[in-house]
Amino acid sequence: MTSGRRGRGRASDGWTNPLRDPRDKRLPRIAGPCGLVIFGVTGDLSRKKLMPAIYDLANRGLLPPGFALTGFARRDWTVEDFGEIVLDAVRAYARTPFRQNVWDRLAEGFRFVQGAFDDDDAFDRLERTVEDLDRDRGTGGNHAFYLSIPPGSFPVVLKQLARSGLSAQHGDQWRRVVIEKPFGHDLRSAIELNEIVNDVFPEESVFRIDHYLGKETVQNLLALRFANQLFEPIWNSHYVDSVQITMAEDIGLGGRAGYYDGIGAARDVIQNHLLQLLALTALEEPTSFSSGQLREEKSKVLNATRLVGPLDETTARGQYTGGWQGGELVRGLTEEEGFDPKSRTETFAAITCEVETRRWAGVPFYLRTGKRLGRRVTEIAVIFKRAPHLPFDATMTEELGQNALVVRVQPDEGVTMRFGSKVPGSLMEVRDVTMDFGYGTAFTEASPEAYERLILDMLLGEPSLFPVNEEVERSWEILDPVIDFWAAQDTGPDHYPAGSWGPPSAQQMLARTGRSWRRP
């Protein structure tokens, strides 16, 4: 999205790299000498996403020669065992073909440190490992720490990093930390977490990963809006009736009780992914695509975002019940293993926001998310007002809905436009048709995984796709009243059958203003 100072080949001391030229678009950005330490290397995310992404980056020649990958876990592994695990993960999940040549170079930089998070000795060994890497592999004192661990363990790991001197930055060298959501579970805990992290790492060294922001389609949203003349003129309350942002999953929560029970859909998805998507949909044009400018516009739009009340009419929550879904008998949430049979955790959440700017005055932004819904889909639907229909009478346009522009984030990435077209025949009759741009079908195989992009940006020190402290806290500020309101209710969440599109209250919430949810 941006080419920082590195892209222009200019270093901090005013020196310009003679081999770089802005016109030379072939030259990729390769990260400088560095190493990555992963905590929680045995986890699912690490195996399915991080390790394959690192291999794919290496395969595309974007990692520096001498790159080092260090695993830290409790398991009693040797470096060879660790290498085997990474190899299995790469073979199973990597996007690009396996090349022995690339793998051999990458594997030379593997290290493994065994230990628990409260083990001083283990962190001292990690410190020595990192030092050895600087000497043997030339990582140049530049190291990133990826905390792929439950947030409960953040304080102890961060304290250990500070104690062992691993987080200390000297001169030109950098130390960075990467954390995954959840960034707290309400405003207070988010502030606390930020304080703990910022205690050890300054804010510019903290990279919060929201993998949705690394997706090509999300970045394409900015290109769609600001590189084209076609859409921006109608991107305002004059023409837009409402915006619906949906992130639905068809799977349930079996096996995720430990994390999910008591957290719920709103905290899990709306606070981060959906509010970020809202920000990208609603933001004003940044003066440039530098990370600072983009972040400023995002902050502005989030600061202007408010909940629409009264909350009992403009929000909905639900919990799935068991039943037949898509030919499979599934269990309800309260019957899932590990969940409290009386659990009141919501698995469906919908809220109404508005953005208090001149551009969006009066346009509701509906955000919804849920588990065990009709199908897995994430999309942003911009729904337009009806045309005044001057030359047509009512019978001619009976079957005409509202025009819509839908950005499909996943799966089947692309853009759909819905508009009216004449039905063939002697009568004048107008009916909805769709026009489709399939970003997905043709591009997916070659377009990089979100994690690839994000890891590379982190190693390059390009913060544009990472939400900052301020955005995280502001998002909680927006959402907290809803969570408090729901917690204060005696009843609910409403039940909905697995495989449906949420409880009836979700439909009512839109029906009150004469609207209805789009079926994605």
């Binding site: 390769i30 290496a58 020669p65 043709a442 070659a446």
Partner: protein, 318 residues
């Protein structure tokens, strides 16, 4: 699916394409460019189509293969349309022209009606290319013209033609094969110490257009003395050395697979640097549809390069 249309015309081909689209759904929508492959009829066609199909996964396109058949035969056009599983994310139209239809002008005339509306046209000669691609009948239809000097019978002669006849919009896969080398060298200079480069040495096989082009690029970018010497052993480009006051930056690939990066004060680093295949290069070429100024400048920079005769042994250049 493969549909053969023996002895036909392009309007029949067009009609069939529309028919196939109606039958198979949205086949031809979302294509971003037309790729015209110009080659002689023969076994080389399938390799080129395969490369184009794999590149089409990144750049959905319509591929038109112009396969020139026997010139002495009676004039005839045999067409073949491939869609779906036989064409990756593209649709492939193979036009085999015989007799008068094997001539350049007639070939361009057959391609014209099949170009996608509004979309850019890229011409690619996977084997022998015309002396001046931009003046070729098909080359004139295209914004971008891709050639491959290394695939020619006489690579150095072909490369010399590229240099003499270069116009904006031309590129050669010789240049594409250098991208990973160039990226590593540029990245090596990104980091301190930021000393100016005083001298450069480029060494490779005697017949290696890529080595020439690397020397040209360094000469024009660094504006210092660049020497191009033969390498004692190794394939293609073998060594680049950039001399600086603080010590040389060296990138060496003696075996055509693994490179070694040496920088003063830093440990030696190995890096995967295998020679790139044609599909990979083609996908990179199609990523850019505007003229590559840096390539043009590098070709021009070749005049500034000095020639060494003594073969350089990889690994002992200090």
């Amino acid at each position: 699916m493969i549909v053969d249309l023996p002895s036909c015309t392009t309007s029949k081909v067009n009609k069939k394409l529309v028919e196939l689209r109606e039958r198979g759904g949205v086949l031809a929508l979302g294509r971003v460019l037309t790729l015209v492959i110009v080659t002689d009829d023969g076994s080389a066609i399938e390799g080129a189509i395969e490369a184009a199909n794999s590149a089409s996964r990144e750049h959905p396109c319509r591929v038109i293969v112009l396969a020139r058949g026997q010139r002495k035969a009676a004039p005839r056009l045999d067409a073949q349309i491939r869609v779906g599983g036989d064409a990756g994310a593209s649709e492939v139209v193979v036009l085999r022209g015989y007799g008068a239809l094997a001539a350049d002008e007639a070939g361009a005339g057959m391609v014209m009606p099949l170009l996608l509306p509004d979309a850019p046209v890229v011409a690619w000669w996977p084997g022998e290319a015309p002396a001046v691609p931009s003046e070729d009948a098909v080359g004139k239809l295209a914004q971008r013209r891709i050639t491959d000097a290394l695939a020619a019978r006489n690579p150095m002669k072909a490369f010399e033609q590229r240099r003499a006849g270069h116009v904006a919009g031309d590129t050669d896969l010789t240049w594409t094969r250098l991208t990973s080398w160039r990226a590593l060298l540029a990245a090596a200079l990104d980091h301190p110490p930021h000393d100016p480069v005083t001298n450069a040495l480029v060494s490779g096989e005697a017949v290696s257009p890529s080595t020439e082009l690397m020397a040209g690029w360094l000469a024009v970018r660094l504006d210092v003395k660049v020497k191009r010497s033969p390498a004692e052993s190794g394939e293609g480009l073998v060594l680049v050395r950039l001399d600086r006051a603080s010590g040389p930056v060296e990138l060496i690939r003696p075996d055509g697979k693994v490179g070694t990066l040496r920088q003063p004060g830093q440990p030696e680093r190995l890096v995967a640097l295998a020679r790139r295949g044609v599909p990979d290069c083609l996908a990179e070429e199609l990523r850019r549809l505007d003229p590559d100024d840096i390539y043009g400048a590098s070709l021009a920079g070749l005049t500034k390069v000095s020639r060494g005769r003594t073969p350089v042994k990889a690994g002992s250049t200090r």
